[in-house]
């Protein structure tokens, strides 16, 4: 960030926009919009009988969207490796909690309804 700018200098030089960079940002926005549109298509075109397929498609597309938002918009992909891993590794706890509690929920459901 403007490391070349001198403290207290009243003359601010505005750098002209880098068209290529801005085009890339809009491209990411386009990808996010398209994935959302595909999610809609899956919601209405894939019948509810294939509920496992639907869920996995939704989860897959959500992870792709999340990766674009965190990687490009939040700029994490371009940060130092140690920062990237410091943020990504703790997410393991979320994955663990997700798996543990959904299994727990299915077990509760079995106890309540199928015995």
């Amino acid at each position: 960030m403007a490391a070349d700018h001198h403290e207290g200098n009243p003359q601010v030089t505005v750098i002209p926009p880098d068209k290529e960079k801005i085009r890339k940002l809009w491209k990411v926005a386009g990808i996010l919009a398209i994935i959302t549109a595909i999610e809609f298509a899956v919601a209405f075109l894939v019948p509810h009988e294939f509920s496992n397929t639907r869920v996995w498609l939704f989860i897959g597309m959500t992870i792709v969207k999340a990766a674009y938002i965190v990687g490009e918009f939040m700029h994490l992909r371009h940060e130092a490796k140690v920062l990237i891993w410091s943020i990504l590794i703790p997410v393991i706890f979320i994955v663990w909690l997700l798996i543990a509690l959904v299994y727990e929920g299915m077990a509760i459901s079995d106890l309540r309804f199928s015995l």
Binding site: M1, I15, L25, E39, F40, A80, S86, I94, V102, G105
Partner: protein, 244 residues
Amino acid sequence: MASTPTSVQAPGRSVWDGGVSPMGVSYGKLMMWLFLLSDAFTFSALLITYGLVRSSHLAYDGAIDEFVFSQAYWPVPEKVFEAIPFFDIHAPLVFVGLMTFILIMSSVTMVLAVEAGHRMDKKAVEKWMLWTIIGGITFLACQAWEWTHFIHGVHTLDPNDFEGANLSQNQYGPPDFAGFFFFITGFHGFHVFSGVMLNFLIYYRTVTGLYERRGHYEMVEKVGLYWHFVDLVWVFVFTFFYLV
């Protein structure tokens, strides 16, 4: 532009020996990242608990066209969220789809504000911050309508039926369904509200020239991180509350 790791170090010294930032970001940005990680845990806990409670209820397994609201099973979300303002038609998930689009667009305008800040372009930062604020307020307005509709409910033929929703009962399904709706979308909505307040503060300070005098627009980046996170959470809420 982004800080590349500043590892200009004397031979034999580690980046962790002091004098440089090993993570290549300022203190404020690093702390924002750690806060967002903790916030991600909070939101995950809410969404995963939703998964636990939902999977401990029966799922509706009949034909989707014959679906009716019942306390006996968890409702199919697209049958609950199918109203849009001004038109009395069934448009499943269209309104939340619109809300998703609005939030993604406001994320784009935010990233453009950050980009303008890197170039010290005060006018462009003002323009894109203003668009981001407008996007945030539009999203909140949509959510207010969504909540109003959810609380008032849809009219049923039987006068003995409970209509709408509160924290102890609702017409759509088991009581927990409305509880989670209020908690998850409410907690997210409060984040959006806080984000709009922060965005406005940053906009105001840009207009008054504080960041120009300071020589950098890093505050736009920090609040930008928060704003993108709010968008990120909505992506997950959209999937796990509305689509699945």
